[in-house]
Symmetry: C2
Subunit: 297 residues, 2 copies
């Protein structure tokens, strides 16, 4: 005969709920590390844009009057905004998944502990009741054996022709007394048995099913909450997708804003004062005087 839950059954429930908790814990850790990857990615993108952005007052900054350069600057700004969105993803994952589930996990651990402790208590109470039953059963057995012996003694004295009437009376009194004690032990055993059977039935058909149902509800609730965390993982990123799309649109637009013709015109406009073309050189006639002299001759 066994008392309490079969140990393998209890272990199954204990292990299954523990494995559920472990999964939540693991998922929180996973989400946390994902945010670190995300933050690292954002940081690298920010460093990249910083590295390629022109310094204030630099030659490169002046070049930005040309659309080709200005568009590159626009792209850097969009990539920077893009990095910002990756940071938003990381922050929201921390808030909506890591912190949310970590807090929930603490409650869950506490709840599971309470249920398991209730189960343990119920089991211990049943075990203690069983021990009482065993001891009252043993007492009953022992006392009946004693009563039996006393009755045999009384019978023997009754049939002994050498026994005095007083001896017989004394033996019969003894037998009667022991039988009375033994009957009281029998009644006690019967009462303990009834009590135990009630408790056992209570344990197996009410208490344990209730606790197991609570653990099951808890585990199902855990699965629901974790599923929300899973969905949150996707939604956190989906939420910024439109803004990320806008960044990409901004980059494409910066490409579209590049206008080499306008840049040429700007360059020509700026430097057109330099486009002076010299006229023809004039003939310098050194022969004017000589021609006269020559024609004079």
């Amino acid at each position: 005969m066994e008392t309490g839950l079969r140990s393998d059954q209890y272990d199954v429930i204990e292990k299954h709920t523990q494995s559920g908790l472990d999964l939540v814990e693991k998922y929180v850790k996973f989400a946390k590390e994902r945010t670190e990857v995300e933050q690292n990615y954002a940081k690298q993108l920010r460093n990249l844009t910083k590295k390629y952005s022109p310094k204030r007052g630099s030659k490169e900054e002046q070049e930005c009057r040309f659309s080709s350069h200005q568009s590159f600057l626009d792209i850097l700004n969009e990539v920077n905004d893009y990095a910002g969105q990756r940071e938003v993803i990381a922050e929201n994952m921390i808030l909506n998944i890591c912190l949310e589930l970590s807090k929930y996990l603490q409650d869950l651990k506490q709840e599971r502990k309470t249920h398991l402790s209730d189960a343990k208590k119920a089991q211990q109470s049943l075990e203690s009741s069983y021990k009482q039953l065993e001891s009252s059963k043993k007492r009953f057995e022992r006392e009946w054996r004693e009563a039996e012996k006393a009755n045999q003694n009384a019978e023997k004295a009754d049939q002994d022709i050498n026994a005095t009437k007083a001896d017989v009376e004394k033996a019969k009194m003894q037998a009667h007394m022991r039988t009375h004690v033994a009957e009281e032990c029998k009644n006690d055993y019967a009462a303990q048995l009834q009590k135990y059977n009630q408790e056992q039935s209570q344990f197996y058909f009410t208490e344990m099913p209730q606790i197991l149902n609570k653990l099951q509800d808890m585990d199902e609730q855990r699965a629901v909450k974790l599923a929300q965390g899973y969905v949150s993982f996707a939604n956190t990123e989906k939420l910024v997708m439109p803004i990320i799309s806008k960044c990409l649109e901004g980059i494409a637009k910066a490409g579209g804003n590049t206008n080499g013709k306008n840049d040429s015109l700007a360059l020509i406009e700026q430097h057109k004062s330099g486009f002076e073309r010299p006229g023809d050189l004039e003939f310098e006639d050194y022969s004017q005087g000589i021609n006269r002299a020559s024609s004079d001759s």
Copy 2:
């Protein structure tokens, strides 16, 4: 007087086209570093999914019969696919931006070099023509001075009463000869001047505008090509956005697939043989024999 392009003007064109090339080079480097960030990001995501994926035959892998665990595995797989898409972005940026523009940049450098060298050659040719003009002008000036002197000598001899007829004739011959030489030099100077003015006009109104137009076309073409590279930067990512969206859908779906109730049922189904509830304990009546003895008495 100046020859050739004003040096500041030439510098402007040279610097502007150089700055255009530098920008392309810078953009290629920027895109290259962006792909490294992207590849690094993908690598970290892959490492993360690997770290959290259950080992073959492990206890965790067996847990995947429960939807909560299976969904987490699905998410890991989606994140892995997601990482793959980031790698696609990196690869396509290398192909469509870095390699494409690097190759173009080489052609561009060569083309610019050719145009600038053509400009230099034209300028040198005009300068050399100017030097010839200067030297023929000086010769003309010198020869006319000599001829003037010879004519004055001839006049002096003509008026000198002490001069012999032979002296006068000789001086006149000399004056005539030098005047002839000087006139040839004058004609040469005139021819050189005409040639130079033609060349100068050719240089300023045909050659240099042509070269500058070519450089301008080249730079505008460079801007167009770079703008394509800018747009490509956005498009490369936009192209994988639907697949990334699918990964996110997959993650959300994995969340939706989590079913705690089913997991409970599966657990119960698997372990239901363990759910044996003991029946009531029976009364063990040690008093049967004694009762008889007692009732016999």
